[in-house]
Subunit: 221 residues, 2 copies
Amino acid sequence: MDENDPWFDDKITEVESLDANLQKLHNAMKSLVTSRRELSLLTGLVAKSAAMLSTCEEHTGLSRALSNLADVEEKIELLRSEQANSDFFILAEFIKDYLGLFGAIKCIFHERVKAFQNWQYAQMQLSKRRENRGRFELANRADKLDQAQQEVDEWQGKVQRCQQQFDDISAEIKREMERFELTRVKDFKVNIIKYIEDQMAHQQQIVSYWEAFAPFAREIV
Amino acid sequence: MDENDPWFDDKITEVESLDANLQKLHNAMKSLVTSRRELSLLTGLVAKSAAMLSTCEEHTGLSRALSNLADVEEKIELLRSEQANSDFFILAEFIKDYLGLFGAIKCIFHERVKAFQNWQYAQMQLSKRRENRGRFELANRADKLDQAQQEVDEWQGKVQRCQQQFDDISAEIKREMERFELTRVKDFKVNIIKYIEDQMAHQQQIVSYWEAFAPFAREIV
């Protein structure tokens, strides 16, 4: 379509670029979640090996430290799995919802193009009907003139209705987009903050696990 | 061999069990290192995607937050790679060195078994030579007796030397094992503590990255 409103050109470019980059971020997050889950399983394997090693270690202090190391690694295994869940539910799924919304937006932009095409088609038909009427006037065919005038009126009405529909959908899109932008920014803010808080809580938890374990390591004599 | 010193039976069982479990821990650590490296790469991918998303984000606050998120993820990428190095150099390589030492210990135990077998072989030969001498004595073969006595003396000397060798290697193993146990416990202590400190430093670093990023997320309006 020949766009006469630059707002739409800009918005379509913006939405498509956000959508494409959000898609990439979503894929990266999905791989991160898978990798974090794998790391969790492998941490569990380290925990099990350390526990087995501790059972056959004769030196009491070292055996106790290894057994506590196994406990810490086991707790970290659980925490990593929670981290994977927070990556998944707070960011990946959130981004996925927005990819769905961007998909819907692209559909609505497409509906507007279709409304524009309907309007143009009606205008073309109206021009044709006017030409017909002109030809009948020149030929003084009063018998055909009435019918031709009726068709001109009919298509004039259609053109008006199509233009109205196009204007309505354009205005509706602008309104909805404005609302969507506000919600989107708020939503991203809330989720990013929730994600940071989750990450910090997890990392601090890991620090406290190691801190609690440190005395057992220092006690080895 | 028929073991007459229970210390060796116990020690061999202990060493073999430690060796087998340390091998498992080593394999688990190697997988952990690989997985941590992968997680680092994927975190870098998330950083890149967030950076690209920030460039096409029109909302200034959100764009800045995304760009800062990308910076944080990039720093975490580096840190995870350092963590993988600390897993590798502090624990995995340390364990691998000890696997090498346990291999050497198993070799020495095997040398002792060979010394025992040599001693037993010498004893068997000595018995045979004594039987020969007895037979010659009964048959009054004075012409062969000298030669037979010489052989008995020769093997008696060999038996003594072999027994001495076996006793020496047994004592040497006990001395060396005692020294090794002390070094081993100290080494494990040092490395476990270094590992904890490294882990804590990394986790605290991640917490501080998120803390520094938090204001950018809260600033989104």
